[in-house]
């Protein structure tokens, strides 16, 4: 156990985690930034936010992903970025879980918001997000 602790807190491992988690966030942000109107539709589908906040969230969230991803890749302010990455990933997981529990048949909006991917919010994505959450928490608490 102590060995695992040493490995995951080793600076090379943390650097690698920053590159992977940061890369995922940067990749995920681009489509949402360039098609904010389509992303706002998807945010609306999740039916979690009051109407007045939907557009603002759709504008802010992808840029947060981009800035967090870029700082994690570059290796600047990794704990702060890790904190934001943790908050973002946790919010994704809550959104997906509530959509599944309520039986909402909606597009995920994770990487592609054009409607071409056909990826729906599902428990599979929830499980995938657990890995992203673990990486984000590691960077927040140990970087």
């Amino acid at each position: 156990m102590r060995m695992i602790g040493r490995i995951i807190t080793h600076r090379v491992f943390l650097r690698l985690a920053g590159l992977i988690v940061g890369g995922v966030f940067v990749y995920a942000s681009w489509d949402k930034i360039t098609q904010a109107d389509r992303f706002a539709d998807i945010v609306h589908d999740y039916d979690m936010l009051p109407l007045v906040f939907v557009n603002a969230f759709a504008l802010m969230m992808p840029w947060t992903e981009l800035v967090v991803g870029a700082t994690l890749i570059v290796g600047v302010w990794r704990r702060a970025s890790g904190l934001l990455a943790t908050a973002l990933t946790a919010s994704f997981m809550v959104a997906i879980a509530q959509a599944e529990i309520r039986g909402l048949d909606i597009e995920c909006g994770c990487f592609d918001v054009s409607g071409m991917s056909g990826t729906e919010a599902s428990w599979d994505l929830f499980v995938r997000d657990i890995a992203l959450l673990l990486g984000s928490v590691l960077l927040w608490r140990r970087a």
């Binding site: 109107d37 939907v54 702060a80 970025s81």
Partner: protein, 203 residues
């Protein structure tokens, strides 16, 4: 000198020779060591706010920060005036005049069960997949009336945005969609077996 750092350089720039650059560098290094990461996270959020505002103002498909006056979200500013909503009475007058093509944005099953007479099926949830096949059914010189399920259904608005991107110019969305049309007792075509062509009847 007692207390001086062993690797300090006598020729290093002094605050008097670089008051801004060195002062800034010292401030940054101080901040990097002492400012809590939660505060840095807040600073990153501030950066994202500025970046989002600048990009959204500059891009042609920028959206307003709040809902439109008719409580719709996700509509680019350039489309706001080009995607008007009409009520069921106006839709009926267009239907009776035969001037418009009605477009059913609902799922295929719902269209097959019942729809507005003469409407074409264009299920928005399968838009990317079906558009190449149905594009020829959408005339550019005729008004298109888009409808979906009801009050909170954004499918028609999304379809309108897609058609505006394809440079269709004459579009309206039926407010409250199918539920408004049927609540007012306007004509429908029903297929009790769920298959057009079998037991079709207009009401």
């Amino acid at each position: 000198m007692a207390g001086s750092l062993p690797d300090s350089k006598p020729n290093a720039q002094t605050p008097s020779s670089c008051p801004i650059v060195c002062g800034g560098a010292r401030l940054l290094s101080w901040a990097a060591l002492r400012v809590p990461h939660a505060l840095r996270a807040a600073a990153l959020l501030l950066v994202t706010l500025v970046a989002a505002a600048v990009y959204n103002a500059a891009t042609p498909f920028g959206i307003p920060w709040g809902p439109s006056p008719d409580n719709r979200v996700g509509i680019p500013r350039v489309f706001e005036s080009r995607l008007p909503q009409i009520d069921a009475a106006k839709a009926l007058s267009l239907y009776e005049a035969g001037e418009a093509l009605f477009v059913d944005s609902r799922d295929e099953d719902d269209y097959e069960r019942d729809h507005i007479p003469g409407a074409v099926s264009a299920p928005m949830r399968r838009w990317a997949e079906i558009w190449p096949d149905i594009e020829s059914e959408f005339p550019r010189d005729r008004l298109l009336v888009l409808y979906c399920y009801g009050a909170h259904c954004g499918l028609s608005t999304r379809q309108g945005k897609e058609l505006l991107r394809q440079e269709y110019g004459k579009l309206v969305v039926l407010d409250y969609g199918w539920s408004a049309w049927t609540d007012h007792g306007h004509p429908t075509v029903e297929h009790p077996e769920g298959h057009p062509g079998e037991a079709e009847g207009e009401h």
